[in-house]
């Protein structure tokens, strides 16, 4: 790795941190902008004014927004104590880890438990769902995209491209209704909800089929369109025509010349697609009562559980910004023509 590459890498990581900090400030500002709402969200609608005053004083809610943001960062980073666990406030919130540790996002107001525990219990389910979806999306969209792209204008291309336009147009919940109708109502071979509990009528693997299916249908068609465009574009390149005129086998040209060059744009798109999947995960988990963090985010937002919303949104931000960074690096590693500047 040469000096230019290292400098580029450091600058991208610097940008990553700045974007992340600015986004976290925006998030904090939206969720905790008015001190009054913070107190009423924590205490609920029937709080006595003396309670509100005590809480405002303990949490220093009267401080300017920027000061409160920096203190919040300090609590998350494990530098500052979280005052919410103080027994004199009388909320009955306590954390076995104490009031100061790295990753302290406070307490879920909805579940009366530390946010870390609530998220920890559910994150695995969402990771499983997303990974399974990606594992299906990549081969399916690559195979179909290449099949369409190497035959531009032929029936196979027209059918796949048209199908992809229609499928990208469908909201996740419409796809879900369609799959529920076929798999649950007509065929009766799949469960309508996926609470991931064992020992019931449906094994865990069958509970995963519909949530993964909806994510795949909603996302694969978009990746397919990008792969198709990139492959069709590469097929028109002079070196492909030269190889054809030279009498090389079409199969070999596609395998050795086209695919390698055509795969660079789709890789970034697949990584950016993870950002899209996060949106889909919220909808899909809510539809199928799947116990992941996506449905939790929606419940937390509807409840006004500000600390849980903050933690889950930061998590989504890390994934979204992180995959962008990885996408840039992949691009760099795959395409020697890209100049560093």
């Amino acid at each position: 790795m040469d000096a230019g590459m290292i400098r580029f890498l450091l600058r991208r990581i610097g940008q990553f941190i700045i974007t992340f900090l600015a986004a976290s400030f925006l998030l904090f500002a939206v969720t905790e902008f008015s001190p009054g709402t913070v107190a009423s969200k924590i205490l609920g609608p029937y709080a006595v004014s003396s309670q509100v005053d005590l809480l405002t004083e303990k949490l220093h809610l009267g401080d300017p927004l920027l000061v409160r943001y920096l203190r919040w960062l300090g609590i998350v980073a494990g530098v500052v104590e979280n005052p919410l666990g103080d027994p004199t406030i009388g909320l009955g919130l306590s954390d076995p880890r104490g009031n100061r540790y790295v990753g302290n996002f406070g307490y879920s107001l909805m579940l009366k438990e530390p946010v870390v525990d609530v998220v920890g219990e559910r994150i695995g389910y969402t990771v499983l769902l997303t990974l399974l979806a990606i594992l299906v999306i990549i081969p399916v969209s690559l195979a179909a995209g290449v099949a369409a792209g190497v035959n531009p204008g032929r029936p196979v291309d027209r059918i796949l491209s048209m199908g992809a336009v229609i499928l990208t147009s469908l909201p996740e919940f419409v796809v879900a209704v369609a799959l529920l109708l076929v798999g649950v109502v007509w065929l009766g071979i799949l469960p309508g909800t996926s609470p991931m509990t064992q020992g019931g009528r449906w094994p865990l693997s069958l509970q995963l089929v519909l949530p993964v299916g909806v994510l795949v249908i909603a996302s694969a068609s978009y990746v397919l369109r990008i792969v198709r465009a990139s492959v069709a574009d590469t097929m028109r390149k002079p070196y492909v025509r030269t190889a054809l005129l030279k009498g090389l086998k079409r199969r070999d040209i596609i395998l050795h010349h086209v695919l390698r060059n055509a795969m660079i744009p789709p890789i970034t798109v697949i990584l950016l697609q993870i950002n899209w999947l996060l949106t889909g995960v919220v909808v899909v988990e809510s539809i199928f009562a799947y116990p992941g963090v996506g449905s939790l985010l929606l419940q937390a937002a509807l409840f006004g559980d500000i600390y849980l919303v903050q933690a889950l949104t930061l998590l989504a931000l890390i994934v979204a910004v992180g995959t962008q960074l990885i996408g840039d690096l992949c691009y760099l590693a795959l395409d020697p023509k890209i100049k560093l500047g």
Binding site: Q15, I18, T19, F20, A22, A23, L26, L27, V30, T31, M162, V165, I166, T168, S169, L170, P171, E172, F173, V174, V177, A178, L180, L181, V184, V185, G192, N275, W276, L278, T279, V282, V283, S286, I287, L297, L298, A301, L302, G304, V309, T313, A316, L317, A320, V321, Q324
Partner: protein
């Protein structure tokens, strides 16, 4: 309008797209004339047999409200929210992106960094946080869509402006002593309209998906406003006994989004510039 029509007339997919959008637009416009029932009229006698019949062509929902009438009035809801939100997002995006590309410098840096920050959030999360914080109303949905889409629009507008800034006609206008405002919005913007119109169609489609999804998640316009996404969530649990309640609104949303995307696809292929 006629020249635009002539431009994409060879593309069948664009024509189908226009037909779908215009059809739903007419339905929305004529809702009071063509809806057979009051969309909010509850009729428990009809709910006893909610399936499609001669009296209720698409059946009724579980409170006996006529589904066809709710779909027709739901089109009016969609055609109010989506155009207002998309136009507002494009106005904001163009007003930020064109000057950013034209002037460059600190303004460009500021707009670009702010866009990066907002684009870092998954879009649905922006809506969920804003709508739960502000409450579901027409104005708040417009604000949320504008905030989420303006950065993307401004990025496109900035990119095109950056390329067009070097054109001869811009140099000519500068030599004539035209104001920067005139050059940006009378010389550059009309020439940047092609990619922006394609993007507008795509984003209109996404916004239909979005308003449907918000309604589905319980964050849409409050009842009794007929809302396609809301109609699906109210009846999804009844799929095994009355599939029609959820399926018809799904078909309505899907057909409108497909219309927007086909139009965008057709325009892009025609290379409208």
């Amino acid at each position: 309008m006629r020249t635009i029509l002539r431009r994409f007339s060879p593309s069948p997919s664009a024509l189908i797209g226009v037909a779908l959008i215009v059809a739903w637009g007419l339905v929305a416009l004529l809702a009071p004339l063509i809806a057979p029932y009051d969309p909010s009229a509850i009729d428990f006698a009809a709910a006893a047999d909610p399936h499609p019949s001669l009296a209720h062509w698409l059946g009724t929902d579980s409170s006996g409200r006529d589904i066809l009438s709710r779909l027709i009035w739901g089109a009016r809801t969609t055609f109010t929210v989506v155009p207002l939100a998309v136009v507002s997002a494009f106005a904001a995006g163009i007003l930020l992106g064109v000057p950013a590309g034209y002037f460059g410098g600190w303004f460009d840096a500021l707009v670009s960094r702010l866009s990066d920050v907002i684009l870092a959030f998954p879009a649905l999360i922006i809506y969920i946080i804003l709508i739960t914080a502000l409450g579901p109303s027409l104005l708040n949905i417009i604000i949320a869509v504008t905030l989420a889409y303006a950065p993307g629009v401004s990025r496109i507008a900035r990119g095109i402006t950056l390329a067009l800034r070097e054109q001869d006609y811009v140099a000519a206008a500068q030599a004539r002593g035209e104001s920067s405002l005139y050059i940006m919005f009378a010389e550059i913007l009309p020439n940047a309209r092609g990619p922006l119109i394609v993007d507008l169609c795509l984003r209109a489609g996404y916004t239909v998906i979005l308003t449907g999804t918000l309604g589905f998640l319980g964050l849409g316009l409050p009842p009794p406003t007929p809302d396609w996404g809301g109609m699906v969530v109210e009846s999804a649990h009844l799929l095994p006994i009355a599939w029609h309640m959820a399926v018809f609104p799904c078909v309505a949303i899907a057909s409108l989004v497909i219309g927007c995307n086909l139009l965008a696809d057709g325009l892009r292929k025609e290379g409208l510039t």
